[in-house]
């Protein structure tokens, strides 16, 4: 050891000392890296690692670190006189020396550090695997993403972002809860980048003009320019956010800009808007905006014309009559306005049903339900069902606000683990709610440090409530305190089956317990609002990417449990399982009470086996029943199959009944938005296969 310049001659290990030359030749010169390369050995790296670990537990003795590094080198020389050591072997030696010499704390810090490095390395390698998969085929997690080069680029960036947030930013217990599938942090790839969604103040933007970054856009003077700008506004705002973009009262907001215009001109501008919203791939060049339009309650002749022409243009469809996927239109129902035959906008309600009976759009929101009624006609929804209204920090309005982020709890897993003990279930639910609230607050903290210039349109152009008071370098906290933090849930049905043996479509007991669970969640979420002084809300999660993730993890852990993990997806939020035979009357009765509890948003569906064209009697009865069940937001689903060759529309089995073509476009509703079937992910495809219309008991030979 004489050649060692550091000169620490003490022999610390009771092992025979190998010859100096061997040490010099093999150990002190070369080391084998993880990738197999042999590079020059640098002892200072061992010293640095030991000192770093010691420092992490409060040590600061550099000399001791040097001495220990020397011991490691000698130990390696003794153990493996012939071999070039690998990085792993050197690290093993460091651990052993630290422990043997009584530096347990430093050893622990070193082990943790090593472990963290390993995980990061694994994450990197996993990331490369993911990249490889994406390059083979674009992920189907999100039905709105296409297969274009930009889409692939977006997916890769998304995968890298997810890894980054989980390994570097999110507290370890929370990251663990997400990775193990106890919770699901939605839009994790956007964790610290932006917010979910917003109801855009269209009226204000059109009245004052706006700037998308390359110059000022003047207020429009004609319907055509007004709807062109509306599309640009949706697009610009979408580029600042990952979630839905919505107009809360399109008829009201657009009315001033169509004064004096002919109905034909207004119709054409609405048609242009619909074309634009299905063709501008603005989300990183890969997705059209998730656009929603609320309307139906404005009584002015211009407002009524907006509603009428938009619905008619949607009914007409795209260039070959195809059903437009966007915008999601939400027809707002209110007694005294459009609900009853004597109401001034009842004709528009009839038109809305006519269009919807062919196109599944519009969907319908009910302003007279007990929880919406206090806000008159102010409550707006989005296609993904989000509802933002109550506000601890200002006026209870829809416009200028949205959801900040949401995270979903894996309810069935809590039930499976509780093993029939309902008390245990509630205890664990309480814990996971707490963790979820911490996570949402953590994300909120990250988001609130973002600056106005991070969201140049959304915040810079004053879309968000109170953002007009901020300067470009200001943090956005004063604006986003108006947003909501939502805790969601999935699989109430499977939860109830696990706890009681039946779900809420089957027994009174299950229904009772189901309500107790969601009441408990709502109560807890309300308490979080107080504790954190933020708008916490409870969400009936639109579980698009999630419906298959939780259940496949749970099946791996707990096996196939009948009625719980024996499918490819957990049932959406509080819905009755899609494959369960039940009349639409009862389904709505059983799901209705959950709408009031889920103040962050909800939707219920009735499934029909064919488009109810010609049958508005059935359509209206169904809607009225849903309203009577105190629902807030509803849709009526049925298959829309379109022949791409002759434009025939109906239910098409294999070939078009009109022209025999097999070139068929199949449109279904997925988590609120329409989509073509080829864009569904596997779990959603399985759900679709199981979806039973209420005609279900087509018993016997069909």
């Amino acid at each position: 050891m004489a050649t060692n310049t550091q000169n620490n001659p003490v022999s610390l290990l009771n092992q025979p000392v190998v010859s100096l030359n061997e040490c010099l030749d093999k150990e002190f010169t070369w080391i084998r890296k993880r990738d197999g390369r042999i590079v020059e050995f640098d002892k200072s790296k061992i010293y640095e690692a030991i000192f770093k670990a010691a420092k992490a537990v409060g040590g600061d003795d550099r000399d001791l670190a040097v001495e220990l590094a020397n011991v490691v080198v000698r130990y390696l020389a003794q153990c493996q006189p012939k071999e070039i050591p690998s990085v792993e072997e050197v690290q093993d030696a460091v651990e052993k020396v630290l422990i043997d010499r009584g530096h347990a704390k430093t050893a622990k810090a070193y082990i943790l550090y090593r472990d963290r490095r390993t995980r990061m390395r694994e994450a990197r390698s996993e990331l490369m695997d993911i990249v490889e998969d994406i390059l083979v085929e674009t992920s189907r997690e999100n039905a709105n993403v296409g297969n274009s080069p930009s889409a692939k680029m977006l997916q890769i960036a998304s995968a890298a972002s997810r890894q980054y947030y989980l390994s570097r930013l999110i507290p370890e217990d929370i990251a663990q809860a997400h990775q193990s599938g106890d919770i699901h942090i939605h839009d994790l790839d956007f964790y610290g980048k932006t917010l979910t969604c917003v109801q855009i103040p269209l009226e204000k933007l059109l009245a004052n003009g706006f700037d998308t970054g390359h110059g000022y856009v003047r207020p429009p003077k004609r319907p055509a320019s007004a709807t062109a700008l509306a599309a640009i506004i949706l697009q610009s705002s979408q580029n600042d956010m990952h979630g839905g973009q919505s107009f809360a009262a399109f008829d009201h907001d657009l009315a001033p800009f169509i004064v004096g215009a002919s109905e034909f001109d207004v119709f054409q501008s609405m048609e242009a808007l619909i074309y634009n919203l299905n063709s501008m791939h603005s989300r990183a060049g890969a997705q059209v905006p998730f656009s929603s339009i609320n309307l139906g309650c404005d009584l002015s002749s211009e407002g009524r014309m907006v509603t009428k022409t938009l619905l008619e243009a949607y009914e007409k469809g795209l260039g070959r009559g195809e059903t437009p996927i966007f915008p999601n239109i939400i027809f707002r129902m209110k007694k005294g306005v459009n609900f009853d035959p004597k109401d001034p906008n009842y004709d528009l309600f009839q038109l809305a049903m006519r269009v919807s009976s062919q196109r599944m759009n519009p969907t319908f929101s009910f302003m007279d339900s007990s929880f919406n009624q206090p806000y008159d006609t102010e409550v707006a929804y989005m296609g993904c069902r989000t509802r933002v209204i109550a506000n601890r920090h200002g006026e209870a309005v829809s416009t200028g606000r949205g959801n900040l982020s949401f995270t979903t709890i894996n309810l069935p897993r809590l039930a499976i683990k509780a093993n029939g003990h309902i008390e245990v279930f509630f205890q664990e639910l309480d814990k996971i709610l707490d963790l979820t609230a911490r996570q949402l607050y953590h994300r909120y903290t990250v988001q609130s440090h973002l600056k106005v210039r991070d969201m140049p349109f959304l915040m810079g152009q004053g879309l968000y409530l109170d953002s007009e008071l901020l300067k470009p370098d200001d943090e956005i906290a004063p604006a986003i305190k108006h947003g909501t933090l939502s805790i969601g849930f999935i699989g109430l049905a499977e939860t109830l089956v696990s706890l009681t043996g039946s779900h809420h479509g089957q027994t009174v007991q299950a229904r009772q317990l189901g309500l107790e669970i969601i009441q408990f969640m709502r109560h807890t979420v309300d308490r979080f609002s107080e504790d954190y002084d933020l708008n916490f809300t409870l969400l009936a999660t639109p579980a698009e990417g999630l419906s298959g993730r939780f259940i496949s993890m749970d099946r791996r852990t707990f096996g196939t449990i009948p009625g719980v993990t024996d499918k490819d997806y957990y049932t959406n939020s509080f819905h009755i399982p899609v494959e369960f035979p039940i009349s639409s009357f009862e389904k709505c009765q059983f799901e209705g009470p959950f709408h009031e509890l889920t103040n962050a948003g909800h939707i219920s569906y009735v499934e029909l086996d064919a488009p109810p064209i010609h049958n508005l009697e059935a359509y209206e009865r169904l809607l009225r029943h849903m309203a009577n069940c105190n629902m807030g937001y509803v849709g009526i689903n049925f298959p829309i199959d379109e022949c791409l060759d002759c434009a025939y529309r109906g239910v098409i089995a294999n070939e078009c009944p009109a022209c025999g073509s097999t070139h068929i476009r199949r449109i279904r509703r997925i988590t609120g938005y329409l989509s073509t079937v080829d864009r569904f992910n596997d779990a959603k495809k399985a759900e679709l296969k199981d979806r039973k219309p209420h005609s279900h008991m087509k018993e016997g030979s069909w």
């Binding site: 639409s584 086996d609 064209i613 049958n615 009865r621 005609s695 030979s701």
Partner: protein
């Protein structure tokens, strides 16, 4: 009394106005080329059940506008069909009956047991065979343009066909 059925569809929106339950009768001799439900032709097919058992399977909810008898040919089992029709009407529900016979053909059978009863209990009759050369997919509740939707009671009273029209 027994009835032979092919199946029930509890909530249909395509077999008459409103939300309707459809009873598909088993057995049909019209043998229309291009028939949508050829599996209902065999008079020995489907299942034979007691009418009271069939009625027990009905799901009458406040949302239901009525029942539709389809098939198969309901008028091949006129007495059983009339019996079920009595029940449906006693529940205050509307009844439509599909048949491959034309109205004029039905009138020649009025003396047969159950025929007149079934006709009089029906609020609407969709009549006539499916003719694939006259197929029109845009027609409400019909498959081909020769088929007509009649109001039987009014038609009998006025001794001429009275058409149902969309509200």
């Amino acid at each position: 009394m027994k009835v032979r059925i092919a199946g029930i569809s509890h909530e249909s929106v395509t077999d008459g106005p409103g939300l309707r339950s459809v009873v598909f009768f088993q057995g049909c001799h019209h043998a229309c080329p291009g028939c949508h439900n050829p599996q209902t032709w065999d008079i020995h097919g489907g299942e034979e059940i007691e009418i009271e058992d069939l009625i027990r399977r009905f799901q009458i909810t406040p949302l239901l506008s009525g029942f539709t008898f389809s098939g198969g040919e309901p008028f091949l089992q006129p007495e059983a069909a009339a019996c079920i029709a009595e029940y449906v009407k006693s529940k205050g529900l509307n009844l439509w009956v599909y048949t491959g016979y034309t109205w004029e053909e039905l009138l020649t059978h009025l003396a047969e047991p159950g025929f007149q009863n079934l006709i009089r209990l029906a609020d609407g009759i969709v009549e006539g065979p499916y003719r694939k050369e006259l197929r029109d997919l845009s027609l409400p509740y019909c498959g081909s343009s020769n088929q007509r939707i009649l109001l039987p009671e009014a038609s009998l009273r006025q001794k001429q066909v009275v058409f149902w029209s969309e509200p």
